[in-house]
């Protein structure tokens, strides 16, 4: 270090003495980010970005190798009236939700270009195969968004009405009551 460096380094010692940032500013920022995550435009564009930039799991082998599951958890807050008086702005597709529970909109995606129909079933829709058909996008992805309460949820995909596919990208559910392995998703979990 040159003599000039030493001088400047000495003066710059005061650089960090700016006082702490205001906690209110940080809280405002997080509130804005959470609103931003609700308003995020073009889920489809974001989905395309994600499926092209992420490496997907390999296709299942053999005759069941039609469907590869990629679960993208989109967490869209159903922002409730906060203690600070923020306004509640329910996200799309969150109609009919109890106002006492925080609900998240979770997007399920399955890459199944050869399928003619795909549904997602789970404890959030009473395992009803007709409740939540996925919509097909260009490129063979299928997508659906479902409001679910925070916590643990067990689910699976049904391809073409009779092929049950667990999600290779998600943890497995240990319950094996009926011989078909399900997947687990945890929604809204926070680290301690």
């Amino acid at each position: 270090m040159t003599e000039g460096d030493h001088d400047i380094a000495r003066h710059m010692a005061a650089y960090t003495e700016v006082g702490p940032p205001s906690p209110e500013a940080r809280q405002r920022l997080m509130a804005k980010l959470r609103r931003e995550s609700v308003r995020r435009p073009s889920l489809l564009a974001r989905l395309r970005e994600a499926t092209t930039s992420w490496t997907v799991s390999p296709l299942l082998s053999g005759a069941t190798a039609l469907a590869v599951g990629v679960v993208l958890g989109w967490v869209l807050h159903d922002a409730r009236t906060s203690a600070n008086g923020g306004s509640a702005t329910p996200g799309p597709g969150v109609a009919g939700v109890s106002s006492t529970h925080e609900v998240r909109l979770v997007q399920f995606v399955l890459l199944a270009p050869k399928a003619s129909r795909v549904a997602v079933v789970g404890d959030f829709n009473d395992w009803d195969p007709s409740a939540t058909p996925l919509a097909r996008l260009q490129g063979g992805s299928w997508v659906a968004a479902i409001p679910v309460s925070p916590g643990r949820h067990v689910y699976s995909f049904i391809v073409d009405g009779d092929r049950w596919v667990s999600d290779p990208a998600s943890p497995l559910a240990p319950e094996d009551d009926f011989g078909i392995r399900n997947s687990v998703i945890v929604v809204g979990q926070e680290s301690t």
């Binding site: 400047i8 700016v18 940032p21 940080r26 993208l72």
Partner: protein
């Protein structure tokens, strides 16, 4: 957890993962923005915009880039924009780096709430010189990263840092003598 892993979570829609990144960098970025802009209010505005922009731009972040440098570039751009808006309010149009380089750094007069000797000297620097000095000696970036952040060449950045040091030294010494 590494920055890249948190970015991956945030890209998947986990805004709280981005919140962890905010926790990690907010204080440092605040310090930088405050030294760049000279006052708390402008710094907070710049940071709000910068972090929201960063959140929106996550899809374009590549793991090969250090997140810290990538974030600081966004913060730096917001500081520049805010400073430029102040200039526009004073009927000056800022088009490019060359114009920026010609602007004397006096925008903090009247708006500054940081008034230590260091800030007084920093305020007198041209913005690009101040940027380079703060990134190098304040935030500890390497020149290679600074080049990625600012778009300037490494020799140009080294020259800016040297000029900033040369200009500030007598001001700081003078203030010390008068203190």
């Amino acid at each position: 957890m590494t920055d890249a892993a948190l970015v991956a979570q945030a890209r998947a829609g986990d805004v709280e993962a981005f919140g962890h990144l905010v926790d990690r960098y907010y204080d440092d970025c605040t310090r930088f923005a405050r030294r760049m802009l000279g006052n708390r209010h402008d710094a907070e505005d710049a940071l709000q915009e910068a972090f929201v922009n960063a959140y929106q731009a996550l899809a374009r972040y590549h793991e090969r880039d250090a997140f810290r440098g990538w974030l600081y570039r966004i913060v730096l751009n917001e500081c520049r924009r805010l400073a430029a808006r102040r200039w526009r309010n004073e009927r000056r149009l800022v088009h490019d780096d060359v114009t920026l380089e010609r602007l004397p750094g006096r925008e903090e007069n009247g708006a500054a709430d940081l008034r230590d000797q260091l800030q007084t000297s920093l305020a007198r620097l041209e913005p690009l010189l101040r940027e380079a000095l703060l990134l190098k000696y304040g935030e500890g970036f390497e020149y290679t990263e600074m080049a990625r952040m600012t778009g300037a060449s490494i020799p140009a950045l080294k020259m800016r840092v040297k000029r900033a040091r040369d200009q500030m030294r007598p001001w700081l010494e003078e203030m010390e003598e008068n203190a």
